[in-house]
């Protein structure tokens, strides 16, 4: 638990800077807008469908609001998370405070986890805002709670994976802009990688669609809990955290 001091310090810095407030507000506004738009559309469609009772079974708030909303939250966080991760190591390197951190009795893994969990907590606040939205919706409808839980689990895993990549990129450069841009590019690339699976042919299709975030996250937002998806995200997180640790120890070795 030696990562706790750095975790607290990073959280403090997020709110002092005040990146956390900006990201929380913008994320809240955008997801709020999306939620409103989905509800309004649902309202319109259900009015129209009420005259054709035959189609009615397809129109339910879980499938027409919750599923697309989770999907859109994931996309929005893809834009926002690079902003949260960009300074984590870049700033320390630019201002040389990394020398303090590396000469305190902390292991590399304490340093990395402190930063990782601080960022993850801000992310949890971000997606936590939507609990308000669902609670309001719950007043008039009956949402499938298990699907919602599944959707949140997917969001957390996905966010943790995004953050792991972001921290890794941040450990490579002193420049925050480069850090954010490269992270964003990589995230988008991983998201869209499944497009290739239709082009590369039978042999590699499986590989590309497995590596891409796309299919895995879809399952979560549709309410499917598959251990393969959980394993995918966990291995993704561990892989990039491992790379970050290698970079940190090589930084010590090269100066």
């Amino acid at each position: 638990m030696r990562f706790i001091p750095l975790f607290k310090k990073e959280l403090k810095t997020y709110f002092i800077s005040p990146i956390a407030y900006v990201v929380l507000i913008i994320f809240g506004l955008i997801t709020g807008y999306i939620f409103y738009a989905l509800c309004a559309t649902f309202h319109l469609i259900s009015l129209r469908v009420s005259t054709y009772p035959y189609y009615g079974y397809k129109v339910n708030p879980t499938e027409m609001i919750a599923t697309p909303f989770f999907y859109n939250m994931a996309i929005t966080s893809l834009f926002m998370l690079p902003i949260l991760t960009m300074r984590l190591f870049s700033e320390e390197k630019r201002t040389d405070t990394i020398e303090l951190l590396f000469t305190y009795p902390l292991r590399d893994i304490d340093i990395m986890l402190g930063k990782f969990f601080a960022c993850l907590l801000i992310y949890l606040f971000m997606i936590g805002i939507s609990i308000i939205h669902f609670s309001i919706l719950e007043l008039w409808t009956d949402l499938e709670k298990k699907l919602l839980l599944n959707g949140y689990l997917g969001l957390v895993l996905q966010g943790a994976a995004f953050i792991s990549i972001g921290i890794f990129i941040s450990s490579l450069t002193e420049n925050q802009i480069i850090s954010a841009t490269v992270t964003f590019g990589l995230l988008l690339l991983f998201w869209l990688l499944n497009w290739l699976s239709d082009i590369v042919g039978e042999k590699y299709r499986e590989i590309f669609s497995y590596i891409s975030f796309f299919g895995h996250y879809d399952n979560f937002s549709e309410g499917i809990l598959d251990t393969r998806d959980i394993v995918y995200y966990l291995s993704f997180i561990i892989f990039f955290q491992f790379l970050t640790l290698r970079i940190l120890s090589s930084k010590r070795y090269r100066g």
């Binding site: 001091p5 403090k12 405070t97 020398e99 303090l100 590396f102 000469t103 305190y104």
Partner: protein, 312 residues
């Protein structure tokens, strides 16, 4: 307390330090003295386990820097050269973070230690100030405070007075002197008076090698084995030099530029045991040169340092 054994460090192909060995006893203040890029910072970074040496090793308080870096770091307080700080935090928040990072868990103990270093470093009244808004001198105090917070037996201060104004320099030196006694301190500097003012022993380092390790007094005395004489003589410089060099006991004759016809200034170095002034004046006058001045020269630590570094 601190023992370095054959430390060598290469950055790629560039050699930073080579075969650096020294031993520092408990409670000593030792100055690491050398021109810029001599390898002072590299030595300190190795001792604080920020960089591993290419070969060799060191022990701090009995812990090996390669085998037990965490314990070494627990026994060290380090002020890096550029004094990096988390400038967005307040002094108190920052010290709180450092205390926790250095493994001080209990709230009461933490509060005690923080208020102690705040007092020791003269930061009372600045606890709630944002570090980035402090003056350079006060930032330096915060830097020293973070090094001191867990009361480590060893302090490693890299150029603690660099970039400060004269008043701040005096204050910082006073602070360092006050810290001595209970703690072992290594401080690096390229300013000589600092060493004679604060340190008991000096390690002089140049181009990655140790040139001399001794007390300030001994170093001065050792080099005082040589006497330097100032001369002002009229006559052909080459011939004057020849005449002086022929005198028994004279080691070296240096003409101070610019060399011109007429009167020139010279520095003559001779062995301490023999006063050659009489011989010089006699010989010069007998050879028909005009002797305008002859005097003994006191050597400052500055001269000694330059001389040692040049000899190497």
């Amino acid at each position: 307390m601190i023992e370095a054994k054959n430390l060598t460090k290469y950055y790629g192909r560039t050699k930073a330090i080579e075969n650096v060995s020294f031993k520092i006893e408990k409670g000593e203040i030792v100055g690491l003295l050398g021109p810029n890029a001599a390898g002072k910072t590299t030595i300190m970074r190795i001792l604080t386990c920020f960089l591993p040496p290419t070969s060799g090793t060191a022990k701090v308080n009995g812990y090996d820097i390669l085998e037990d870096p965490l314990n070494v770091q627990k026994n060290i307080g380090y002020l890096p050269e550029r004094n990096p700080l988390y400038e967005e935090l307040t002094v108190e928040e920052f010290l709180n973070f450092v205390a926790e990072s250095k493994g001080i868990k209990r709230k009461k103990e933490k509060r005690e230690k923080i208020s102690r270093v705040i007092e020791e470093c003269g930061l009372e009244g600045f606890e709630k100030k944002i570090i980035g808004k402090l003056s350079k001198g006060y930032k330096q105090r915060v830097g020293i405070a973070q090094a001191l917070i867990n009361d480590p037996p060893c302090l490693i201060l890299d150029e603690p007075t660099i970039g400060l104004d004269p008043k701040q320099i005096i204050e910082t030196r006073k602070l360092i002197k006050n810290l001595a006694g209970k703690r072992t301190i290594i401080l690096s500097t390229h300013i000589l008076p600092e060493v004679s003012m604060t340190c008991e022993r000096v390690i002089i380092i140049n181009e990655g090698h140790i040139v001399a390790i001794d007390t300030v007094e001994n170093l001065t005395a050792k080099l005082k084995g040589m006497t330097e004489i100032n001369l002002e003589v009229e006559g052909n410089p080459g011939k004057v030099k020849e005449v002086i060099e022929s005198i028994d006991g004279v080691k070296e004759v240096e003409i101070i530029p610019p060399v011109k016809d007429g009167i020139n200034k010279y520095i003559v170095r001779s062995l301490k045991e023999k006063d050659v002034r009489k011989d010089i004046s006699e010989k010069l006058v007998n050879s028909g040169f005009g002797l305008y001045e002859i005097s003994l020269r006191e050597m400052s630590l500055e001269d000694i340092f330059l001389k040692l570094v040049r000899e190497e």
